[in-house]
């Protein structure tokens, strides 16, 4: 009797653990995985089928036709120009800025660094809107300033042009090059420079021949990421490009679906083209960085020496301030100013101040009010679901040896490289028909947001779980807790701050999402970005500004919370997420 007892206990324990594995683990993980396949895999499959003409037909003629059309060809050329332009621009402004904040004794380095982060966090279509106010051909403030200063007949600068689009997108995406170069420069040990110096190299020689080549892979990688991101930014492409009569692939896709009857096959084909560009760019960036990365040599503490620039540091500061003035201060400033002005074209004065636009935006305008409510609802639920799936994928990856978990992991990261427009086309094709016809409901937006931002949650959850020693969970199991219990009582509490960060990292871009939403919303499911976009079309720019300011405040507050929670600087929470 006594001898049999331990065996029985072991048996029971075994039985219980097997049972719980099937019931809870299997159920929870399986559900998350199914959701992932369904939200990411299924739409991508449809995107592919759609380009072949499905469901009406199957064949290559749609692809052929799409690529033969001059409109599409023009859009492709414009898109490539845009990518090239922003890539170069990101180097021209991102690299000097990164050098200034990482390697010199320039004053206000942290302020500049934070303002670059702000340029990136700010939804790019808001920057685009701001530049209509600032560089509109006639009434734009800068243009009027220049007219006043130099007596030009008309405003000398026109934002509605290819350089204009490149500029507006460039001052957003240069953050990629900046942050990558910044951390690369930070990780160049001073001894590498000093070695050159003792051999007789002057400062500039050291900078040019040691630092620059060392961080060259980071610069190239950053430029590629900037270029890739610029491909995807529907907002500024539409807001600046459309009035300028310049069509890019995302705006072209939008037009092929936005006009009636929608041309699904052509939209899918163009989406595939965009995917191809993105994937090619990412592969190039990956391959290049991996082969030629010098700066991750040692994980040891790196000593960096700040270059004493003497009086030249003030000149450098002036340069840096100019850049962040254009990329962050001026756009936020002008939107704020307009939101509080009775009329944006009138000069700033006390009598021109009003709260009326906020009243309209937050209480009166049907679309705006609905947009704000929908955006909060959608961002919250998308973030919650994305964290759930992301956590499940990360758990499978790190804590189990389930087969196919790598594929899942890949699938969960994949949307990171997919432009919002492309995701939206896939989701449209997938969910406009049976078995899940959720087009025309808010659910399709939820699906799109979860699918788009799941990589952010997955990566964040992965990083969080990595920091938790599995033995803590094993200790729980050994004391007799079930799998579910261990998850609830040990893993979840331990990873709560990390998962909260993951939640916010999804919430922030979802809150202002435009490029997918514009294709998926209908009456009643407008979001804040749609309200902004539509009211801008109608020229109600003051209300648009009020909504923009509201969005910026929400996004910045949450971003500050993320930074505080992860207790780190912006650069480490930086993710090359495409958004907008």
């Amino acid at each position: 009797m006594q001898a049999a007892a331990p065996a029985a206990v072991a048996d029971r324990a075994n039985g219980r653990s097997i049972a719980s594995k099937i019931s809870f683990q299997g159920l929870v993980l399986g559900f998350a995985v199914a959701l992932l396949l369904f939200l990411v895999g299924y739409p991508l499959l449809w995107l592919f089928l759609g380009s072949l003409g499905a469901p009406q037909s199957l064949g290559l003629e749609h692809l052929q036709r799409a690529f033969a059309r001059p409109q599409n060809y023009a859009a492709l050329v414009n898109t490539l120009q845009l990518a090239l332009g922003t890539g170069v621009m990101s180097v021209l402004i991102g690299v000097p800025l990164a050098w200034a904040t990482s390697r010199t004794n320039m004053p206000l380095r942290y302020v500049i660094h934070a303002l670059v982060a702000l340029s990136y966090i700010m939804p790019p279509y808001l920057t685009a809107l701001a530049y209509i106010f600032l560089l509109g051909p006639e009434a734009g403030h800068f243009n009027r300033l220049l007219q006043g200063l130099f007596g030009f007949e008309s405003g000398p600068l026109n934002i509605f042009s290819m350089p204009g689009v490149i500029f507006v997108i460039g001052i957003h995406v240069f953050a990629f090059t900046y942050f990558l170069t910044y951390s690369a420069l930070k990780s160049v040990d001073a001894s590498l420079e000093e070695s050159a110096q003792v051999l007789g190299a002057k400062r500039w020689q050291t900078t040019l021949r040691i630092n620059l080549p060392l961080v060259a892979p980071a610069i190239t990688g950053g430029a590629l990421l900037s270029a890739i991101d610029s491909l995807a930014l529907f907002g500024p492409q539409a807001i600046i490009g459309t009035p300028a009569q310049i069509v890019f692939l995302p705006t072209r896709i939008y037009a092929t679906i936005g006009s009636y009857p929608p041309r699904w096959a052509e939209a899918s084909a163009l989406s595939l083209l965009l995917v191809f560009l993105t994937v090619a760019g990412l592969a190039l960036q990956r391959g290049y960085l991996e082969r030629r990365s010098y700066v991750t040599v040692s994980g040891k503490g790196v000593r960096t020496q700040l270059l004493n620039l003497g009086p030249a540091r003030w000149a450098l500061l002036a340069f840096c301030l100019t850049i962040v003035f254009f990329s962050a201060i001026a756009p936020v400033g002008i939107l704020t100013l307009n939101a509080f002005s009775k009329s944006w074209t009138d000069p700033l004065s006390l009598s021109n101040l009003t709260l009326e636009h906020f009243h309209t935006a937050l209480f009166l305008d049907q679309v705006a009010v609905r947009g704000i409510i929908n955006s909060f609802k959608l961002a919250t639920s998308a973030a919650a679901i994305a964290v759930l799936i992301g956590a499940a994928v990360a758990y499978l990856d790190l804590r189990t040896n389930v087969r196919g978990r790598r594929v899942l992991d890949y699938l969960a990261i994949l949307p990171l490289g997919l432009p919002g427009t492309v995701m939206a086309v896939g989701i449209l094709l997938a969910f406009i028909r049976l078995p899940i016809p959720i087009y025309g409901t808010i659910w399709i937006l939820l699906a799109a947001y979860v699918a788009r931002f799941i990589p952010l949650a997955t990566r964040s959850a992965n990083a969080t779980f990595r920091q938790i020693d599995p033995s803590l969970e094993e200790a729980g199991r050994i004391t007799g807790a079930s799998w579910f219990h261990v998850i609830r009582r040990i893993l979840v509490p331990l990873s709560r701050p990390g998962l909260l960060v993951a939640f916010l990292l999804v919430f922030i871009p979802a809150f202002g999402e435009l490029s997918a939403t514009i294709l998926l919303y209908t009456g009643g499911t407008e979001t804040i970005a749609i309200a902004i976009y539509r009211l801008n079309d109608l020229g109600q720019l003051e209300v648009v500004s009020a909504l923009a300011v509201f969005t910026i405040v929400v996004v910045l507050t949450l971003a500050a919370l993320v930074s505080w929670l992860s207790g780190s600087s912006w650069s480490s929470s930086e993710t090359p997420a495409v958004r907008g």
Partner: protein
């Protein structure tokens, strides 16, 4: 004035004093080592010498020329010194050849001569045939040689080395030690070498400069520093040592009589010793022989009781109670004692150094 003359150097980082009152004279062709525990200021001194840091007070002259003073510092690129870093600092984006040729290019040396000089120096450091490799394809030791070759190829008159061997494994470290020494003898370059490994310092140096907490504790040839430590810190740092507390009975010149418990011994001492302060006698464990033999002239004999013996292979480590303080003795394998046995400790008077301080230091 010596070749390198360091006078009254102070260096502060904020309120923290990293160097204070450093005085040092180094001759040409000398191999001098800065030795001391981590954080004592060795690197700071070296970098001040290289011109990366500006002293808060004091001056550095090299070859009679003023290079550093609080007012003006000749920048590193104009000092024509070489420097080898602890982490090698080999440029990862250049091949071995390019790394080594870098300095020559800056000197505008002609292409053909560059090739010649680089291959000569690569031969010298044993890197022939690896010219085209990138640092990522080299072992730690090879990278170290690249760093060496890179600084030597420009034929500096002074080479500064900051713990160049600390990242290598023990065997390689010993081999490189020999090579460095040979190289220095052959080239006649003045080496200033930083390490916290006292064995390395003794093996390499003409003179050792012992640092502690930003000050120079002692300067001397390796044997001097080992056998005649100026203070407890140096004695301790240079190797295992018995610090026996005692009382000064009498002092005559450099010899003293010290009472340890009920026994009295003869010891060497320096001038600055205070008769009323606490006294410690430093005795290296390997200087002591155990035996019952009668005292020989020039030796002290201390009676003790063996507490424990530990067999360590090449030696036997004995713990002996001498008038209430525990002393360690390194005896040879043949000699065996039972715990509790009465033993005599026979120590040459020259091996007993009496100095100021107490054993808590």
């Amino acid at each position: 004035m010596a070749f390198i003359d360091i006078a009254g150097i102070d260096k502060r980082f904020g309120s923290f004093k990293a160097l204070s009152g450093i005085e040092l004279a180094i001759e040409e062709r000398e191999f001098v080592t800065f030795l001391g525990p981590s954080g004592c200021g060795k690197t700071t001194m070296l970098r001040t010498l290289a011109g990366f840091l500006t002293p808060d007070s004091g001056t550095i002259h090299v070859g009679g020329k003023l290079l550093s003073s609080p007012q003006a510092v000749v920048p590193p690129e104009h000092r024509r010194m070489g420097m080898v870093f602890q982490n090698y600092a080999v440029w990862p984006h250049m091949s071995v050849f390019e790394n080594v040729a870098f300095g020559l290019r800056l000197l505008k040396v002609e292409g053909a001569e560059i090739g010649e000089r680089v291959s000569r120096i690569l031969d010298a450091v044993g890197l022939r045939g690896l010219e085209k490799r990138h640092p990522g394809q080299l072992s730690g030791g090879q990278q170290q040689r690249v760093a060496l070759a890179r600084s030597l190829v420009v034929e500096p008159s002074i080479l500064l080395l900051d713990e160049p061997l600390s990242n290598l494994d023990a065997k390689l470290r010993e081999r490189m030690r020999t090579e460095l020494k040979t190289l220095q003898r052959r080239t006649g370059i003045t080496f200033i070498y930083v390490t916290h490994d006292q064995a390395e310092a003794m093996a390499l140096s003409d003179r050792i400069v012992v640092f502690n907490q930003g000050t120079v504790q002692q300067v001397g040839a390796p044997r001097d520093v080992y056998e005649r430590p100026a203070n407890i810190f140096v004695a301790d740092f240079m190797g295992l040592v018995n610090k026996v507390p005692g009382k000064l009975v009498e002092r005559r010149g450099t010899s003293a009589r010290v009472r340890i418990g009920e026994q009295t011994i003869e010891a060497c001492t320096s001038d600055g010793i205070d008769p009323n302060g606490a006294i410690v006698v430093a005795i290296r464990p390997e200087a002591i022989r155990l035996g019952e033999a009668a005292p020989v002239a020039g030796n002290n004999v201390l009676a003790g009781k063996l507490v424990e013996s530990t067999f360590l292979g090449n030696i036997v480590d004995h713990q002996v109670d001498v008038s209430g303080s525990l002393m360690r003795v390194q005896g040879d394998r043949q000699q065996a004692f039972e715990p509790g046995a009465n033993v005599n400790l026979i120590v040459p008077i020259t091996e007993c150094v009496a100095m100021q301080g107490d054993t808590s230091q």
